[in-house]
Every structure is written in C-alpha cells, then in structure tokens.
C-alpha cells in the first residue's frame, strides 16, 4: 500500500494549520483533542475537589456558605464523572490506540468519530454554562424530587448529560464496528489485545445503557418544564422510580469507567514483566462477565430507599458475584508477574498502585454489597471512600499508567523516569492519605454531602485535606515534567518498552495513516519471545 503523506512527517505536523485539526478525521488527532479536553476538565474537577477539602479544614463555616458548597460538590462530581472518568480512557486513549492495535488506518466511521467529539464538546460547554445560571446543587445523581424542585439550573445540566450521552453512544458504536471490521490480517478474536476486549465490552454497555439515561433525563426535564408528574409525589409521581432509572444506567456506567482501566493494566503488566498475560481467555471472559452482571445490580444503590425486601435480597445476591470475575482479573495480573523480569518503570509503578488501591476499593464494595452492612454505611463517607478508591484509585491510576505508557507513541518523546517516579509517589501517598481516613469517618457514621461536619470528624477531615493537597501537587508535577518532555524530551524509539501489540510497529509518533505497510499479525499480543526473534 502506498502511503499518502510525505516521508518524515507524522500526524502531529502533517497536514498543518489549525483547520486541519478542527476538521480532522484522523482518530489520533481526535484522540489527542479528547485528551486535552478531558485533562482540562480534570483540572477543573480537581479545583472543585480542592475547594471542598479546604472547606472541610474548618469546623463550621469556612471559605464558603452552604449553598456554594452544594454547588461545588455537584460540579466536582458531574465534571469528574461525565467529562473526565467516562470519556478519559475510551475516548482519549482508546481513540488513539484502538485502531492502531488492530492495525487499521482509522476507526470504521471517521466522520462519526469527529461528530461525537463535537457533541461531547457541546454537551460539556452546556454543562459548564450552568455556572452562569445560578449553578447546579443537586449532586451528580440528580435525585428527584430535589432536582425537579430546586431553583438552580438543574434542567440545563441534565440536558448537558443527555447530550454527552449521545457522544458516548456514537463512540461505542464506532469502536464496535471497528473491532469487527478492521482487524489486521491474521488477527483473530483470540489475538486481540485485552485492552481491545475491555473497550469492546465497554462499548456494548455504552450503547445499551446510555439510552436509558437519556430517557430518564428527558423525563426529568419534562417534569421540570411541563409539571408532568413522573417522580414528584405531589404531582402523583414516584421519587424512587427516578432512582431505578438513574442507576439502571449509572451502575453499568461504573463499569464504563473501570473496564477500560482494567484493559490498560492488562497491557502494562505483561509488557513490564516481559511475560505473556497469565490466562488470556479467562481474562477476556471475565471482562464480559463483569459487563453482563453490571446490568442486573443497579438496585444495590437503593437498599435504604424503601424498595421491597425481595428486591434488596436479589440485588445483594447478584452484586456479590461481581467479585468473582473481578477477582479473576486481579489474581491474573499478580500471576503474570510471577517469574517475570520486571522493569520498574513509571507505567508499572502506576499499575502496582492500581492493584493496591483497587483491591481496597473492590473489597469494600463487597462490604457494601452485603445488604445488612450497607444499612449503616449507605450515604456515609464509607461509600465516598469506596468509590474514590475504585474511580480515582482505579481508573485514574490506570489512566496515568496508560498516559506514560503510550506517551512516547503519542508524541514521539520520552519523559524523565525519575521525575515520573516522584510524581507517582506523591499521587499514591496523597491518594491514600485523602481517602483512607474517609473509611473511618464512614464507620463512625459521618453522612456524605455535609457542609457542616460534626466536630468529632475534624482530625480525620484535616488528614484527608492534607492528602488531597499532596495529590494536587503530584499531578501538577506530572503535568510539569510531561509538558517539558513534550518540548525537550529525548526522541523516543518506535517501540521503547518492547511491546508486542501492533501500535508499536508504527513510527513514534505515527504517520498520518498509522503504518508505512499494512501490518500482518505473526505473533500474539504478549508474545515477547517471538518479538525478540523478529
């Protein structure tokens, strides 16, 4: 195959000009645009998080009043969930890496891909525009009837989530079609990298579950605007119904957030252990096991809502089984390290951090799955700590692992390993310092979303706040050395880590249509022996 771009150019510098980026159909450029957007929103969400932690350093009123506080935690949650954690791995890293792992030139529908990016941008702008219309104070869950009654701009934020949902659906469709149709010659389903399996399973969830969220949000907007009683009891509606609808999407969404993270870890662990993944098939199966079960566990968010005891029983029973495929994954990563030849580079440090933190997040999830135990913990800081261990400790650590792992491929430059290690140390220590005390607060019964915390929790709150500042410093440091590497870092080789997946067969950074020659798959994605023989 002839290549269309001049030799010596890459996707970053050819074609040139701002319009060539705005109208680009190149999955790599779209991926980078997603990356920049989500990192910007991550900064915003992080600033809101810091404001929360500063507020909690004082007993009683601190730097803001209760109404402001309620808005701050709502923006922290909505931004982090809808604009950061959900799109950050599939849409940013996935867009760049997925077609290349398949040896393809692009995704199946490049125009649709660009459209989903702009839908995401439109949705996120709409969401942020609420800041100028009294803000939103419902929390990211938009529970009715509060969300239909509050004077804030809840309807607008709900519409924003609705719009961003469409972006999610389109990206999911695109990825599914790409995986089915654009695999390189010789790449059967058994030769797919596990990251692809993870993104594929995620895409299925996105396509199936997101429409339910869209429907719910429309109902909410209709109730607010036209006073049709779906959820508001005084209009004859049922508030608990909203929770069913909301969690029917938002629980699978938890796996939209965490499956891609697991996919990254499944790439990083074998590469840096120099050994094939232990048990490829169970790993791929476990991915689908989790995706499948994720649709039938939403009621575990509602154990104290007044839903029937029977519902509580069934949802608790199904929920505990999420542990089985999840356990398979965790054990598999550890077993992959056994008798490996482990290279302790930054991506691997983050992968280790992921396992450490994710086990805590997962096991406390089991505590919350036991319906009896949940009664005391529901809506306390225990839940807050649990899902931050999964979302931040899990997804964010994996994202950062992935960012460092693919950084040389994305930008053709290397970052400084030592700088990377110190960044990791600050993030990891800071993270545990922030969220571990919140488990204890939850055990003691501190309810979440409290502006005015009970004075007994003051010391724990202080610890948590200091930890959050350390996380902040850590990420600022990561940003500094990565930006430095972008400009001044040494040139990266095509395959600096010795990876066996296809994306590393391109140049760093890749040329416009990825590969100089159509790649053929001659060895498995984790077959490092064959790679060295080549």
């Amino acid at each position: 195959m002839e290549h269309s771009s001049p030799v010596g150019t890459n996707y970053l510098n050819y074609p040139k000009g701002i319009w060539s980026w705005i109208y680009t159909l190149d999955h790599k450029r779209i991926g980078i645009m997603y990356l920049v957007s989500t990192l910007f929103y991550f900064l915003m969400g992080g600033i809101f998080a810091t404001l929360i932690r500063i507020e909690h350093m004082t007993v009683g009123p601190g730097i803001m009043d209760a109404n402001t506080y309620n808005r701050v935690f709502t923006y922290h949650g909505t931004i982090m969930v809808f604009m950061v954690i959900i799109p950050m791995i599939p849409a940013a890293i996935g867009n760049f890496v997925l077609p290349m792992m398949l040896g393809a030139k692009d995704v199946a529908f490049p125009r649709l891909n660009l459209l989903s990016y702009y839908i995401f941008v439109a949705g996120s702008f709409l969401g942020l525009a609420t800041l100028f219309f009294k803000g939103v104070d419902t929390g990211w869950t938009f529970y009715a009837p509060y969300s239909t009654r509050t004077g804030s701009a809840a309807a607008m934020m709900v519409m924003a989530a609705f719009v961003m949902g469409f972006s999610s659906i389109l990206t999911g469709l695109n990825f599914m079609a790409t995986v089915h149709k654009l695999r390189a010659p010789g790449q059967g389903w058994g030769e797919l990298p596990l990251f692809i399996w993870a993104i594929y399973a995620t895409s299925i969830i996105q396509v199936l579950a997101t429409p339910v969220l869209a429907l719910t949000l429309v109902m909410l907007a209709v109730e607010r605007i036209f006073q049709v009683g779906f959820f508001d009891a005084s209009l004859g509606g049922d508030p608990v119904l909203f929770q069913h609808f909301f969690w029917f999407y938002s629980h699978p969404a938890v796996y939209i957030m965490v499956l891609p993270a697991m996919g990254i870890i499944s790439e990083v662990v074998p590469v840096f252990s120099r050994k094939p993944i232990f048990g490829y098939k169970p790993m791929a199966l476990a991915t689908f096991g989790i995706a499948f079960v994720s649709f039938a566990v939403w009621g575990h968010h509602m154990f104290t809502s007044g839903q029937s005891d029977f519902a509580n029983k069934v949802f608790s029973l199904i929920t505990v089984f999420v542990a089985v495929p999840t356990g398979v994954k965790v054990f598999t990563w550890v077993a992959t390290m056994y008798r490996g030849s482990i290279r302790l580079k930054t991506p691997f440090w983050y992968a280790l951090a992921f396992m450490f933190v994710f086990v805590i997040g997962g096991m406390t999830g089991m505590v919350l799955a036991a319906v009896g135990a949940d009664i005391h913990f529901h809506d306390t800081y225990y839940v807050v700590a649990h899902f931050h261990y999964v979302m931040v400790g899990g997804t964010l650590m994996a994202f950062t692992a992935g960012l460092h792992y693919w950084f040389p491929k994305f930008f053709g430059r290397m970052y400084n390993e030592k700088a990377g290690f110190f960044g990791f140390l600050a993030v990891f220590v800071g993270f545990n310092l922030t969220f571990f005390p919140q488990f204890i607060m939850g055990q003691l019964g501190a309810p979440r979303r409290y502006y005015n915390n009970h004075p007994d929790f003051h010391e724990l709150n202080l610890l948590s706040s200091y930890g959050s500042f350390l996380i902040g410093l850590g990420f600022v440091w990561v940003a500094i050395y990565l930006v430095y590497a972008l400009v001044k870092g040494p040139k990266a080789s095509d395959n600096p880590w010795g990876s066996a997946t296809l994306e590393w067969e391109s140049t760093s950074p890749p040329a416009m249509e990825n590969f100089r020659h159509d790649p053929k798959v001659t060895h498995g994605p984790y077959d490092y022996v064959a790679l060295e023989r080549k």
């Binding site: 508030p239 252990s273 608790s316 396992m355 979303r449």
Partner: protein, 340 residues
C-alpha cells in the same frame, strides 16, 4: 464507652448494632485477608523477579487450570457467605416486634417531626423509653424532597420518601442522647438537619408523657464525643395541646365525609368498611392481591382510581390528594388501625 475496631465504630446502642458489628468484623477480616493474598505476592514478585542480567522470564507459563479453578471457586463461596450473612442481618432489621410502640416520623426541609399516639408532636427530639421496641413509620412531606433517618449508634437508616411510608425499628437499652442525622442530601441545610434520639428511663418517659419536667440524659455516641458533651440538664417543658391521634382520625373521617361511604362496623355501604381492613389481604379487580398496610390506605385516600378493589368496580371515589397533610394522614391510619 467506645465502639469496636479500636473505637472506629460507634457504640452499640441496640442489640441489632451488636449483630451488625459481628457482620462487619467478619467482612473487615475478609477484606484484610484478601488484601494480603493479593498484595503480599505482588510485593514479593516485584522484589524477587525484578529485571536482572542473565535471568530470562519464564515465558512458557501461560495458564494453570487448577490455579484458575481455585481462584474462581473460593471467591464464589466467600461471596455467597457474605450475601447470606448480610441478608440475615438485614432481615433482623426488618423484623418489627409485634408489641412495638409506634411513633410517626415526618421529615421536611429541614426538620424532623415526631408524632406520638396521644397526638403530641416534637421537633428534632425523639423521646423514647429504653428497653422498649419502637416502630417508626417514616415519610416526608408531600411537596418536599427525600430525607433519610439515620442513627449511627443504632446502625439503622431508612429514606423518608414523599408519598410513601417506610418502617424502621429499634430497641435501645442505653439511656442518653443519640445523634440523629439526615443521610439523604436535601439542600442548603442538609447538614444541619440533625436531631437526637433521647432515650429515657421508663419512669422518666412516663413523666415526660404527662408534661412534667425531666432531666435530660447525657449525649453519648460518637467516640470522641466527650469534649462536645455539653450536657444539658434543662427540664423539658411540654405544653403542646394534645389531641389523641385516634380521636383526631375519627373526627377527620366524619368531617371529610369519609363515613358517608365507609362504615366502621363492617357493614357494606357504598365503599368497603374500615372494620378489619388493616393488615388484611385485599383482592383487586384485576385478580392481584395487595396487603392493606399504611401505604395502601394512603393510596386509596390520595389516588383512589389507581387500583380498584374487587366488587367495587366503576365507583368513583374522589381523590383527597393535598387535602390531608402528613399528620392528618397518620391520624386517619391510626384510627383505621383501631377498627380491627
């Protein structure tokens, strides 16, 4: 008095809290064990198998059926045990003793109202006698939002949902003030929607019931609570005009004209009689069966056309949605309950 796990749990304010703590100790140790099972090998491998010249990775290891079987089956068994124990404890929290004393809880933004049988209401202070099972019937004002009744010392929590009754019960042996939180986010003053469950010695409770001054018991509960324990000994002065809840309900039934269609003695008028209604299984026109509990009575008062009782098809009872507030609804239900 401190709670378990080195004081990181609240005190055990009820018998149920004891069962709950046992469950949590189990779960806690399951967490610790599985954490160790994953993290210790991980750390050992990082040190033992780090890259060294001349040592090749064992690339031939790709899987091991026995190991994979073990790490699938053991977590499955542990999961089932976690579910079963969790369910048993939950079940205990739903088994309201038959002789429980009923107090109605009405949440609104941002206060708790407690309504007693004798018609007395209190705000943010739930007075109960110790060693007596207490049944709480919880709801939220109709035009209000969700709240959640949460007493950490008792390990109990239930959402207050507008338009719906839910039930919670406890029996505390510990005299004192137990902190009460609203656990479901409800807006500006969510974090100030706190109250106290004031557990009194039975003789003090009797005194309080009759409006006599009593001495407030000390606050107890959160582990570091001592320093905030500004023990109030101010007597409680209760002058609220009391209307017996049942009598109030009976009066409402006649004022609103309910008694022109529903009898209190079992005779069939236009609609079914109240007599023997509460707790009965009612057959509906579509053949399904529904338990006539608090929520059923509420439904029939507020949205009578939603579901029709067998034998009463085609009747058009008007809706009383919005005409009775939550306290009056409670009175009606209390009245109907006595006709069994």
């Amino acid at each position: 008095m401190t709670g378990g796990l080195g004081g990181t749990l609240p005190i055990q304010g009820t018998g149920f809290a004891g069962s709950w703590d046992d469950l949590y100790y189990f779960l806690f140790w399951v967490c610790v064990v599985f954490f160790a099972i994953v993290i210790i090998p991980m750390l050992v491998f990082v040190i033992k198998y780090r890259e060294r010249p001349g040592i090749k990775p064992a690339s031939h290891i790709s899987h091991n059926i026995v190991l994979e079987f073990v790490w699938t089956v053991i977590p499955t068994i542990v999961s089932i045990v976690i579910f079963a124990w969790g369910w048993a404890v939950y079940k205990e929290s739903t088994m309201v003793p038959a002789n429980a004393m009923e107090i109605r809880v009405i949440a609104k933004s941002w206060a708790w109202t407690f309504q007693y049988d004798d018609g007395r209401t209190t705000t943010n202070e739930l007075f109960v006698p110790v060693n007596t099972p207490i049944r709480l019937t919880i709801t939220s004002e109709k035009n209000d939002v969700l709240h959640s009744f949460y007493v950490p010392n008792f390990r109990i929590k239930k959402d207050a949902v507008p338009g719906m009754f839910s039930t919670l019960w406890f029996n505390t042996p510990i005299v004192g003030q137990h902190i009460l939180f609203c656990a479901e986010y409800c807006g500006a003053d969510h974090s100030n929607m706190t109250g106290k469950v004031i557990a009194l010695k039975p003789e003090d409770f009797e005194k309080w019931k009759w409006g006599a001054a009593i001495e407030m018991p000390p606050p107890i509960g959160l582990p570091f609570v001592d320093r905030m324990a500004t023990t109030s000994t101010a007597p409680v002065d209760v002058k609220t005009a009391k209307v017996d809840l049942v009598k109030h309900g009976q009066k409402l039934a006649s004022q609103l004209g309910c008694d022109s269609c529903h009898s209190d003695n079992g005779s069939k008028m236009i609609g079914p009689s109240y007599k023997g209604l509460f707790g009965r299984k009612v057959e509906l026109a579509d053949g399904s069966i529904v338990l006539a509990d608090e929520n059923w009575i509420r439904e029939k008062i507020e949205t009578p056309q939603k579901r029709t009782v067998k034998g009463y098809e085609g009747l058009l009872m008007p809706s009383y949605l919005g005409q009775l507030n939550e306290q009056e609804l409670n009175a009606m239900i209390a009245y109907i309950k006595t006709l069994n």
